[in-house]
Amino acid sequence: MAISTSTPSDGAPGTAPPAGTGTGGDRRRRSTLLHRLDVRGAPYAFVAPFFVVFAAFSFYPLIYTSWISLHRVELSTLNLMEWVGFDNYTALWDDDRFWNALLNTITIGVLSTVPQLLMALGLAHLLNYQLRGSTFFRVAALTPYATSVGAAALVFTMLFERDFGMINWMLSLFGVDNIDWENNKWAAQTAISSIVIWRWTGYNALLYLAAMQAIPRDRYEAAAIDGASRWQQFLMVTVPGIRSTIVFTIVLSTIGATQLFGEPLIFGQGPNGITGGADNQYQTLGLLLYEEGWKNYQMGRAATVAWAMFLLLIVVFVVQRVVQRVAARKA
């Protein structure tokens, strides 16, 4: 790759190859060739690692998943693949646990994504004021992002404990009876959502804040001259101004919600984790995938669940696109 004759000393254009002699001309021609090769080829070499790794560990597995889903493969004998056609798919379709997990994924996804993004929007708006100690508030908002799913879920599981948990204790101060956060379906889903909300609200708020700071000030001035109140300015200038970022965060959170796994697993504390509670009351598709593959040893079935997750994502994006179009047409 090296060009032997080139002397890349800084700021000395005079050190071009020695002119004159025959060998110099020869070297010159060769180095021109090498130079061309470098200019043409180097860009590809520079972007290649990304594509190679992505192809090997993301794209190929994604395609291979569909092939596996048409087979019966057991965890203990991974190299024995028995063709079963669409059996895994029909079995999944007839499986109550699948519909339950699908529904749970959607409800927990909505319960965690909607409040999270609304709160992030409000928080970003506050952070966008001229503030004393703005760095402190920003870092504080982002700190939960530094905790792992493991640690966050452990702490929240304890805060949501039925008998001595802090949240039930605080509710009892307002005369609310102890809530069985683990075994009550909606309570459990709320608790799990709160872990997601806690970890990601600050992160989303910073994305919004960055976008808000790029909105030119004259738009606010124009709106103020037109007599818009601060709330109206927020709705008419700020929100439209960061629309693409909002879409971006919706996409990110949706992908995250579809794959929800660690929070319910750890919230279930032990054997109930994988099944998403004793009655599967908070089993997500991610947990079902794990249960099929690594508890029931059916990798083919697990691959089918992966496909279901993918389809769910596609459906959500199509719906979101349509909603966006309709909203744009109305506006």
């Binding site: 180097a42 790794v53 982002l142 530094a146 802090m166 600050g202 790029a214 032990g270």
Partner: protein, 313 residues
């Protein structure tokens, strides 16, 4: 030797890029501009209500962490009483020590350090290389390839988890750290992030000057791009490190308790191996401490980095 390439390059350079890069010196002031738009719409001064609301938000963010520390410093009987404790007790070090042993956190932390460190290093290196190529080098198919990179962000990597597990088992990497590291050696977000930074902060003239001096592309990358790209590289390193440290789904599947990363080791605490609530909280605290320390030291930069990536993303 390079004489022919100068006009050629100039001809290929669209006027827009030339205009953009005029006077772009990678000075401090220049970098600051990336964080806040010059005509930024910071409309109003915050009133008392804004401070109160922000205070509440900060409390919500920090309280669970504070309480982890409180619970980790008491004993099991105290932590399971109502009202729960709000002030630290005397058993912090003792509990940390026990949790360290019970959850095998020493090994887990070393593993996480290796995994997150290698992933962050390689992500930063490859993202800077590719980002430089996309930002400043001309080549056929550049736009198509860049669209592909962005497109890959939409492919959720977890969906390939079943074949990935089979691949790793076949390669004999099951339960080993490379199985966690390989799939995340590169990041599309990182490539995009570096491209956005370098198209603004790296003047075309500098790259051309390097060419005139006869430097080949790798040499230009090493002596010109790397020094300029240092600040975003540091940010990308920290963000990638946090992500890799906290990653759960794939490590949980491919590793087992004999060789876990920190998040995987922490599941052991919830799964009934440890009954003592204070010890569980001590483990959670230990697993979070390294990143918390990083946040205390570099919090400002990490915040700035996420925002900087967001403006353009």
């Amino acid at each position: 030797m390079t004489t022919d390439s100068i006009p050629a390059r100039a001809a290929h350079t669209p006027p827009e890029t030339v205009r953009k890069s005029r006077g772009a010196t990678p000075s401090r002031g220049r970098r600051r501009r990336l964080f806040a738009h010059p005509r930024a719409g910071r409309q109003h001064h915050a009133g008392p209500l804004a401070y109160i609301l922000l205070g509440i938000a900060a409390l919500f963010s920090l309280f669970p962490l504070y309480w982890t520390m409180v619970a980790a410093s008491t004993d099991n009987t105290r932590v399971t009483q109502t009202p729960p404790p709000f002030l630290p007790g005397p058993h912090l070090l003792e509990n940390l020590g026990k949790a360290w042993n019970d959850a095998a956190l020493g090994k887990a932390m070393l593993n996480s350090l290796i995994v997150a460190g290698v992933i962050a290093l390689s992500t930063v290196l490859f993202a800077t290389l590719a980002g430089f190529a996309f930002a400043k080098l001309r080549f056929k198919g550049r736009n198509v390839l860049l669209m592909l990179v962005i497109g890959t962000m939409l492919v959720p990597p977890q969906l390939g988890v079943v074949p990935l597990f089979m691949m790793m088992t076949e390669l004999g990497l099951g339960q080993k750290l490379p199985a966690v590291i390989f799939p995340t050696l590169v990041s599309a977000v990182g490539v995009f992030f570096m491209r956005q930074y370098l198209s603004e902060a790296l003047p075309d003239e500098l790259v051309e000057a390097g060419r005139v001096d006869g430097a080949h592309s790798l040499r230009i990358f090493w002596s010109i791009v790397l020094p300029i790209a240092r600040p975003p590289m540091a940010v990308l390193f920290m963000i990638t490190f946090v992500h890799a440290w906290n990653d759960f789904f794939w490590p949980f599947i491919v590793l087992d308790m004999s060789n876990p990363t920190v998040p995987v080791a922490l599941t052991q605490l919830s799964a009934g191996y440890v009954r003592d609530q204070s010890l569980i909280m001590a483990g959670a605290l230990l697993g979070t401490l390294p990143l918390l320390a990083m946040f205390i030291v570099f919090g400002r930069q990490i915040v700035g980095g996420i925002m900087q990536g967001a403006v353009k993303g």
